[in-house]
């Protein structure tokens, strides 16, 4: 094969590959043509703004995770001091620091040993008069924060998958933000509830209560909460009318949601929806021990620090339990889903929320496509009038450009958004510019008295460097957009980058090959239709 035939073969191959990846799957879905699964999976996806759906940005309150760590470690130190009978008080100051006061000088050595054993993740300040400040080491705090965000993202992923959303997108954004996109979802409130509920289940023995007021519940303890206990209120009773009930419960839970094996919706004895759960082996062992030892007492089922219900323990219970509390069917379903996917390590606050109804998206896509086609047709008409037959060459290059762009986006799994459509229009603009630059240069060379073939050759080679310069400038702009932009701007940057690559190829290689192919048969070319 000659050089030209190789070039033509390459053009055809590029066309087939990119048409197959980028355009054929769209046509296949539309007109029910056969398409292999691996190909239709790659089909260009529509973004939220075109398809409709929910877009949420939330911040993970990573302080929560630090607070838990501070509470745990200070608690362990307190127990250790008790065991070594060092009379000192431990008090939490803020999320990363706690204080120990009243260490007798004689027992300073014992205290130091206990602290080194239990609080290695904390920096111990120099003690004055038996008082010490413990501050969490910065690298530990940083690691905990990062871990909390990753865990939150994974939990949200599980929950969203349980919701059955197709093609959701869940991504970390910045240090502590999580972006969730749920295409096709319109019930934003349910989505927010399922994603944002802490989902922390605890089973705790009730020491006192239920009582109608906080004072009542503390009567036997003299009005103060014992250090290893806490007062919780019930939420459900309040909703059913009447005030909330108060419970004095142990701070340490008998069983937590971490020991859960499964959770599902079932009916309680009153035929109301309830959530049944099954514990795993270690959870079952602990649960059956606690229930066996405390028959006749109340067991509080605590969800996110609110008592859902507090049934009496009638007998030893092995591995199954039920959370009843006057749920609606949907509430019960949500709760079962949240329990199955595990607790969030920290609370989430919503920073941004966007819902796009499917009609709105359809309107936008229709308008965007109409506008693109109108622009394209005007340009095609202009190219044909102004550049005559060579205009066809430019149009072929332009269409190839769009096909390659579609193919690249589909292959990379990029998502088509409104700014993405704008990126398409820009690609058309840049493509036309490249062709115009080359053609104008060819005209100049022809005017300067060159032969047709020489004019074409030097037109292309002269403009090539200009094109490289302008396209690299475009890449630089796109890179910054991608690096510093968010969501839609990134989509735009991706489209622009692919557009620049495909344009450089089509306007220099394909367009030139077409000229060569047309002129190849003739020995002496007198005039060029340009």
């Amino acid at each position: 094969m000659s050089n030209l035939q190789w070039k033509l073969a390459l053009c055809a191959a590029v066309f087939i590959v990119f048409f197959g990846v980028g355009v054929y799957p769209i046509l296949a879905t539309r007109y029910n043509l056969p398409a292999p699964g691996w190909l239709s999976d790659r089909q260009l996806k529509l973004g939220l703004d075109l398809k409709g759906g929910v877009h949420l940005v939330m911040r993970v309150q990573t302080d929560d995770a630090l607070r838990v760590k501070t509470e745990q470690d200070s608690g362990r130190l307190q127990e250790e001091l008790k065991r070594r009978s060092v009379p000192a008080t431990v008090a939490i100051q803020d999320v990363t620091t706690f204080r120990v006061d009243g260490v007798p000088p004689a027992q300073d050595q014992a205290f130091r040993q206990a602290a080194e054993q239990e609080s290695i993740d904390f920096e111990r300040g120099t003690g004055t008069n038996g008082s010490y400040t413990f501050a969490m080491r910065p690298n530990i705090a940083q690691a905990l924060r990062e871990e909390a965000v990753v865990q939150a993202r994974q939990t949200i992923e599980r929950r969203v998958n349980e919701l059955g959303v197709t093609e959701p997108s869940i991504a970390q954004q910045g240090a502590d933000q999580i972006l969730v996109q749920l295409p096709g979802v319109s019930d934003v409130d349910r989505a927010k509830e399922v994603i944002g509920s802490p989902g922390m289940l605890e089973l705790k023995l009730v020491e006192q209560g239920p009582s109608p007021s906080r004072e009542d519940v503390l009567r036997t303890t003299g009005g103060v909460v014992p250090p290893d206990m806490e007062v919780l209120s019930g939420g459900r009773e309040a909703a059913a009318g009447g005030g909330p009930m108060y419970y004095l419960v142990r701070r340490v839970a008998a069983v937590t949601g971490q020991d859960l094996r499964s959770a599902r919706v079932q009916l309680d004895e009153n035929n109301m929806p309830a959530v049944g759960f099954t514990l795993n082996a270690s959870g079952s062992a602990a649960f059956s021990r606690v229930t066996g030892e405390n028959v006749g007492r109340y067991l509080a089922i605590v969800l996110d620090k609110t008592v859902q219900s507090a049934p009496t323990i009638n007998s030893r219970i092995a591995g199954d339990g039920q959370i009843a509390g006057g749920f609606t069917q949907e509430e019960a379903q949500n709760l079962a889903l949240i329990l199955r996917s595990g607790a969030l390590p920290a609370t989430l606050t919503y920073l941004q929320q966007q819902t796009i109804g499917p009609t709105l998206g359809a309107d936008s896509i229709r308008a965007g496509i109409l506008a693109s086609l109108a622009g394209l047709l005007l340009i095609v008409a202009f190219l044909l009038v102004y550049y005559k037959l060579s205009g066809i060459n430019a149009i072929v290059a332009l269409v190839m450009n769009l096909i390659i762009l579609l193919g690249m986006m589909a292959y990379a799994g990029a998502v088509m958004t409104l700014p993405g459509i704008a990126g398409f229009i820009l690609t058309i603009g840049i493509g036309v510019d490249s062709n115009v630059l080359i053609f104008e240069r060819i005209k100049e060379e022809l005017d300067a008295g060159k032969g047709v073939k020489a004019a074409i050759n030097s037109g292309f080679s002269r403009v090539f460097l200009t094109l490289v310069d302008t396209h690299i400038a475009g890449f630089i702009a796109a890179a910054f957009l991608f690096q510093f932009g968010t969501g839609p701007i990134r989509g735009f940057a991706v489209t622009l980058t692919f557009g620049l690559i495909s344009n450089l190829f089509t306007s220099t290689f394909i367009s030139k090959t077409l000229f060569e192919a047309v002129l190849s048969g003739r020995r002496q070319v007198q005039a060029l239709s340009i």
Binding site: T359, A371, A374, A422, V432, D433, V436, L481
Partner: protein
């Protein structure tokens, strides 16, 4: 067909008038921005946007009466026959801290239902807390400035520092002129407008690179001529190309403006304004600045010619001269080989 043939406009002669005109437009724009402020889109200012589709036509006044107890703005949205309204509510810091970002939505829903309006459906909501708003604002400014710096560095590397300085000032000029036009016509700053601005920065630099590229070529061919003449020649040589390119971009963006729907309107307007600004500055502002910043205009061309003898050829034959990187003798012989 030729739009222009062998033109010889003296672009640089009008540099002072052009700069005066630009200064006036930018000054007026700044006046409007300082007195009225640039309205920020919901993604930058924070707040709530609701798009509500009614089953029958409603007027803005009906909505104003229905929602008089809360602060808001209302305008028609989309095509008139779609009966859609855009309602915008400001948002306070408290809402985000209290964790009920979307508290305003049910309130509007209730008030509209109570007000005996035609049946409606909330088609879309966009709620942005103040934190994200401030973050996006900062990011957008960073992205714009850094991408401009990046391209400037590229131009300085490929051409000369005075060209790079000229082009970055001209690009700032384009951004300011576009901002001024946005302010005159009361468009609000949204992420889409920022995307359009960045595109425009890219186009503006693209335009200047094409022109500077030609200047570089011409100064090599005619090294005795002053830079001013070379720039003028280059501007005239690329005149048709600039006009066609700007024209086609203008046409396709105009289509976007007319048919692209509400969401793309701000984007399209920015692009329209930007196309005019970049074309104008590519002709009148950037080259003038490049000349003013080249310390010794008469000595400058000689510096650009690094590869000796080939530069001395006459203009007609000189069309065979190569690019800066390659000695042009080599590229000429290559071309000969390909041409035959």
């Amino acid at each position: 067909m030729h739009i222009f043939k062998d033109t010889n406009f003296n672009f640089l002669r009008w540099r002072w008038q052009a700069m005066l005109l630009s200064a006036l437009v930018i000054g007026a724009g700044f006046f409007v921005i300082l007195t009225r402020g640039i309205p920020l889109g919901v993604e930058f200012s924070g707040g709530t946007n609701l798009i509500i589709r009614f089953t029958a036509p409603v007027s803005e006044d009906q909505i104003r009466t229905a929602l008089q107890s809360i602060p808001f703005e209302v305008q028609k949205y989309g095509e008139p026959e779609s009966n859609q309204m855009l309602i915008r509510l400001p948002q306070t810091q408290q809402a985000e801290e209290a964790g009920n970002l979307s508290a305003d939505v049910p309130k509007v829903d209730q008030l509209l239902k109570a007000a005996n309006m035609p049946a409606f459906k909330i088609e879309g909501t966009e709620i942005v807390g103040p934190t994200v708003g401030a973050e996006l604002r900062r990011q957008a400014i960073y992205a714009t400035l850094l991408s401009m710096l990046g391209i400037t560095a590229w131009i300085a590397f490929r051409f000369r520092v005075s060209f790079a300085l000229g082009s970055i000032i001209a690009t700032f000029h384009d951004v300011f002129v576009t901002l001024a036009l946005l302010a005159f016509f009361g468009y609000e700053m949204s992420l889409n407008v920022i995307a359009a601005m960045l595109t425009m920065v890219g186009y503006s630099m693209n335009d200047m690179i094409v022109i500077f590229d030609r200047v570089r070529e011409n100064t090599r061919l005619q090294k005795r001529e002053p830079l001013e003449t070379a720039i003028n020649t280059s501007l005239n040589q690329t005149l048709t190309r600039t006009l066609i390119t700007s024209g086609t971009v203008f046409i396709s963006v105009m289509a976007l403006y007319l048919f692209g729907g509400e969401v793309l309107e701000g984007f399209a307007f920015t692009m329209l304004a930007g196309t005019i600004a970049t074309t104008y500055s590519g002709w009148f502002i950037a080259p003038s600045l490049a000349i003013m910043l080249s310390s010794k205009p008469s000595a400058a061309p000689a510096r650009a010619v690094a590869d000796g003898a080939s530069g001395a050829r006459a203009k007609g034959e000189g069309a065979g001269g190569g690019a800066l990187e390659q000695p042009s003798r080599k590229s000429k012989s290559q071309r000969k080989a390909r041409a035959t």
